[in-house]
């Protein structure tokens, strides 16, 4: 199922955060910090992007021994194309990219 033509502000924030060093894998907490989104908003977006083939995910061994592995994410090639397109559209729109307030709203 393709993503709607115009993404929500929250999805745009996730795409923008993932676009910074796009080849590197990012943790959920790191994305939460980067976007200002709470986990309850962030994860449904990550799940949707992953279902639609825009996001890759894998388990990564923790740096500190004894810690459980963590789930990491990065945009796929189609995800990168989508992010570029959506961010360009958002930048050209009347309001541009507005920052998300604490709490993810």
């Amino acid at each position: 199922m393709p993503l709607a033509r115009k993404c929500s502000r929250q999805t745009l924030a996730v795409l923008a955060a993932s676009m910074q060093q796009p080849r590197s894998w990012k943790h959920g907490y790191e994305l939460s910090k980067g976007t200002g989104l709470k986990s309850g908003t962030l994860y449904p977006i990550l799940i949707r992007l992953s279902d639609q083939g825009f996001l890759d995910s894998r388990w990564e061994e923790a740096e500190q021994p004894g810690r459980p592995p963590r789930h990491v994410y990065r945009l796929t090639a189609t995800g990168l194309a989508l992010a570029r397109e959506q961010l360009r559209v958002a930048a050209e729109s009347e309001f541009g990219l507005r920052p998300i307030k604490a709490g993810g709203r």
């Binding site: 907490y29 986990s39 309850g40």
Partner: protein, 216 residues
């Protein structure tokens, strides 16, 4: 137990609840969310994170619910579609019988005779087909088939179109009969509107059903 340890304990409890609430196909994501909490230094932030995880799990659980998984919903839908089928087939049967001259006795609804006279033969024939598709839709709904949506929407749209055609044909007298019914009681139109709404709701529920992957 200090406030910090109580906060961490509560976070863990919330995360284990989130894992339980999460649908089976999202188990990996629930695990991913809960693993992150170990990396959050602040207790307060960890608690907020855990609450968010529970919210996300509830969201995914709600998304995974297929309305037809519940047998009362399934049977309720089937019953309503059965009523639509009976209504359509009754109209088709009685109109066809009149048009083909099968009434040896007096026609039981003399007030409808002027309308029947001007009704073309294809109208009841199409209704017969529509009623048949409604009957097929009952089987599909009960079997939880993805085709159920089309089997309800197509005859429903055809019925609406037929109704619209009858309305715009002035010689059919449909508009007058509706107007008379409305003059008798302002609530007379409430039932058809409620029926229309209910059928649309069924279509939406079946559409929702199609969007939701079947549980593993």
């Amino acid at each position: 137990m200090t406030l910090q340890t109580a906060s961490r304990w509560l976070s863990k409890r919330l995360l284990s609840t989130a894992m339980r609430v999460s649908p089976l196909e999202r188990e990996e994501w629930a695990r991913a969310m809960s693993r992150e909490v170990d990396e959050i230094p602040s207790n307060r932030e960890a608690l907020t994170w855990a609450l968010g995880c529970l919210q996300a799990s509830c969201h995914e659980r709600l998304k995974s619910i297929r309305p037809t998984n519940f047998w009362p919903v399934r049977w309720g839908m089937a019953l309503w579609v059965a009523l639509l089928a009976v209504d359509t087939l009754f109209y088709a049967g009685i109109t066809l019988a009149y048009k083909l001259g099968l009434f040896t006795e007096h026609y039981p609804y003399p007030e409808n005779v002027p309308s029947l006279e001007v009704t073309p033969l294809w109208d009841p024939m199409l209704c017969l087909l529509t009623g048949g598709v409604f009957l097929w839709a009952i089987v599909l709904i009960l079997r939880r088939s993805r085709l159920a949506l089309q089997a309800v929407v197509v005859p429903f749209v055809v019925s609406l179109l037929l109704f619209a055609i009858r309305l715009v044909r002035p010689e059919s007298g449909y508009l007058e009969s509706l107007s008379i019914a409305y003059q008798k009681s302002h609530y007379a139109l409430m039932w058809p509107i409620a029926g229309l709404t209910f059928t649309i709701l069924i279509c939406l529920a079946l559409w929702r059903d199609r969007q939701t992957p079947a549980p593993r």
